[in-house]
Symmetry: C2
Subunit: 440 residues, 2 copies
């Protein structure tokens, strides 16, 4: 294979030139608004046939085709094999180079990946790199911002403007003989691996030629396609965002179950060159398990993995961000530097005139409405009114809980000029954010 | 009832004087170490009999006593009623005054609470206030620090030194006629509500006198005791600490199920005067539901509740604390102010001598070992070596993720003297803590 220097690897290969009639000088159809008259020109009829038409035909045909046990088992097994071709091959090996594979493994993955009928490695990985580099922007080939259905398969069924999609470097793929060969002979690969091979196995194996074609071929293709399309739709729509919530990727076990483990997509977009999608042993990631098994067999090597220190840093920053958002929504009391300054004598005077004020750590609090509710009793809190209650509040009488400190800070009305001021001021820097409890 | 000014309400009532032979001048038995010779003096035989002896006798007797359906149903119903006497009465009403009750409700709660055989309201609430005020210290009557079994019932089965237990203010209880009456007539209340009443119902109702005594009386007491004891043991041992982890109280649904809803104990210790234990509608807290129902019936009023702002502040601070602990365990790279200062020319020289250094935002990073692993390819990262790569790294070529920024900061080796220094220095205050991503 590697002795086949393909033509495709030579010209500057940034632009996809799959459609030979494409002329960059003429305005592309997507630059014309969709109307009642021209809508059919916007549709990619070939893809529509492959993705929707043939499966429907297959479904109809299946009504007359009995499903035999060996064919069912074989179809499911081949479903997993071709699915892995996409997830372990197209995606983790070629698009992300998250590990290296020996030539036999590469050929296997290029073959079964072709059997999933989702385009050549070269085309798929180029688009996928653009998806990562320009996630959620107009340059993202399957941006979920254009709708869930669009990200699922609308982007294939409707014509795309090749100029719109972000450019990415695929020089490494153009140097990979297996990729180049598969791209060049793509139609043959698809026909053979997608339909003929599953039919051959079923026909030569147990004589079920038609079942092999309908179930192992057409319907299996449909299921594998829909499952892997979920990585672009469901994985950008359903679940949590433990690492970064600025973009759409999400983690969810349902997506993982559907996509052979590609469901930890928030992690994946943050650490795309990690060969894993699920980092916990108990999470479902058969693609990772397969790569790991190939490594034990000497077929895969250089499995890339981010240090857990880096992963935990990302998780922590996202948690911090969430916490900071929550913090700004809560009432932490008037910030200390926004409080009026009071004289001590003024404070005492006001208390003698019946106001329920308590000075703690240089800050005056109006507890009038709280005296009757004080969990430690009316008498206790009244004994602090008009006095410096710092010590009583902080353990002299009762070492109040965090909750009590928080409550107290919402009752602030002033700062006392003088002695205690300096102490509280020093600690005030961290306040108003609620991050440290200002023990006032 | 309220016309009965009880003797007990007059003398300074801080000290429990339930044992008439107790003389504060003589050394208390607990001040003598436990030995083989004196161990029986350490045991509180009355409590041991009540809590362990009688239930065992009841269990044996039950072998000869057929359990009839109406008796079983009545025993379970009475179990809930007497349990509520403790949780809604003794605990939330009297120990914590988390709501107010009309006299009929008070009498009901004092009666069924007495039927649970856990001491008088006055004695129970005094100890419980000490438990909250001195949680986990030696002054805590049932500190879990002395062992799970001790906190469960060891503290009752072994004699206690009354001097050890923290003092609390119970003047409000001494002013409560129902409390005072129940304390004065405690033995009569216990005998009637604990044994005679359940037997009467069962005997007069469906002729099952013995079953009413054994199942509705003795065994029901045993189950109610063990269940409510769990508030002191299980609730300080099993579960999460969403509000404060400095002390032992914990939240767990199992504890809640066992204790009629007293299982959200971390919340409860932080907000003891809240009439709720569970704050979410879907959490199990039948005690809260009962209090709420009594309010609808006009029997309870002034239900106290902390503002959700205060509760969320507590939760947030605890989360922040956990996050800060995690943060210190991660490697955030050498803090900026601990880095050596380099000249620009020195940086360029070293790169020309083959070192893979990249300057981003005035900080020099050693990426030598990373060049081959760079997810954007060798060429990309090499193009930054020996240059000011700030712009390329931050979007000029590729707007790197958080993960890439984090990784970069672990590669720091120096700061460049001059131009960019000021900018990065300003933002450096927040760094090393990892709280803000220093976009360098
Ligand atoms: C000035 C404003 C005050 C506020 C906002 C306040 C708040 C609270 C709160 C929320 C509690 C419930 C337990 C806890 O969360 O720690 C409490 C309990 C208590 N407070 Fe205060 N308090 C104040 C002043 C005082 C003062 C001045 C004293 C004593 C002179 C005092 C003595 C007590 C005692 C003894 C308890 C324990 C109650 C118990 O659990 O038995 N408090 N306080
Ligand atoms: C100086 C230290 C560098 C580090 C630590 C670093 C790190 C990374 C990491 C972790 C990624 C994976 C995607 C991501 O997490 O964002 C990445 C991708 C990338 N980096 Fe860098 N990078 C560095 C320098 C550079 C430089 C100097 C350039 C360009 C001149 C560059 C260009 C790119 C590109 C284009 C990608 C996108 C790869 C793709 O998804 O196709 N990087 N970098
Ligand atoms: Fe994605
Ligand atoms: Fe990806
Ligand atoms: Fe407790
Ligand atoms: Fe309590």
């Amino acid at each position: 294979l590697s002795s086949q220097p393909s033509a495709a690897s030579k010209p500057a290969p940034q632009e996809p030139v799959r459609n030979k009639r494409y002329d960059p000088k003429k305005p592309h159809i997507t630059e014309t608004p969709l109307t009642k008259k021209n809508w059919y020109k916007h549709v990619n009829w070939l893809n529509l046939t492959l993705i929707v038409g043939i499966p429907i035909a297959g479904l109809i045909a299946s009504a007359w085709t009995p499903l035999r046990w060996p064919t069912l088992i074989w179809s499911i097994a081949y479903y997993f094999a071709t699915g892995l071709g996409i997830t372990a091959g197209y995606h983790r090996l070629w698009a992300h180079t998250s590990y290296s594979a020996s030539t036999p493994l590469k050929i296997f993955l290029a073959a079964v990946g072709g059997g999933a009928v989702e385009g050549s490695i070269r085309w798929w990985a180029r688009d996928h790199r653009a998806h990562h580099r320009y996630t959620d922007t107009d340059k993202d080939p399957y941006s979920v911002r254009k709708g869930l259905l669009y990200s699922h398969f609308g982007w294939m069924v409707m014509k795309q403007n090749p100029k719109r999609i972000g450019r990415t470097d695929i020089s490494d793929l153009n140097d990979d003989a297996v990729v180049v060969w598969q791209h060049k002979h793509y139609l043959k690969v698809v026909l053979f691996m997608g339909l003929i091979f599953p039919m051959l196995v079923s026909g030569l194996g147990w004589g079920d030629w038609l079942g092999g074609f309908i179930y192992g071929g057409i319907l299996r293709i449909f299921f594998v396609q829909q499952a892997t399309f979920c990585v672009n739709s469901l994985a950008h729509w359903l679940g949590d965002q433990p690492f970064d919530d600025r973009n759409s990727p999400r983690d969810h076990v349902i997506t993982a179950l559907v996509t052979l483990g590609e469901g930890y997509h928030n992690f994946h977009h943050e650490f795309p060159s990690d060969y894993r999608n699920a980092i916990e042993w108990h999470q479902y990631d058969p693609t990772k398990w397969s790569i790991w098994a190939w490594k034990q067999m000497g077929l895969a090597y250089d499995l890339k993995q981010f240090r857990s220190n880096e992963i935990e840093k990302g998780r922590l920053q996202q948690q911090q961000k969430k916490l900071d958002q929550k913090r700004t929504k809560l009432d932490w009391g008037v910030p200390l530097d926004a409080l009026p300054v009071m004289e001590w004598d003024d404070y005492v005077d006001q208390c003698q005139n019946g106001r329920g004020l308590v000075a703690v750590a240089g800050v005056v609090h109006d507890v009038t409405d709280f005296i009757n509710d004080h969990p430690g009793g009316k008498a206790m809190i009244k004994s602090g009114v008009g006095k410096d209650a710092t010590a009583m509040f902080n353990g002299g009488v009762y070492n109040h809980s965090n909750a009590a400190h928080n409550l107290l800070s919402t009752m602030r009305i002033g700062v006392i000029r003088g002695g205690m001021e300096v102490e509280i001021w020093k600690r005030a820097n961290n306040d108003g954010k609620g991050q440290m409890i200002v023990k006032d």
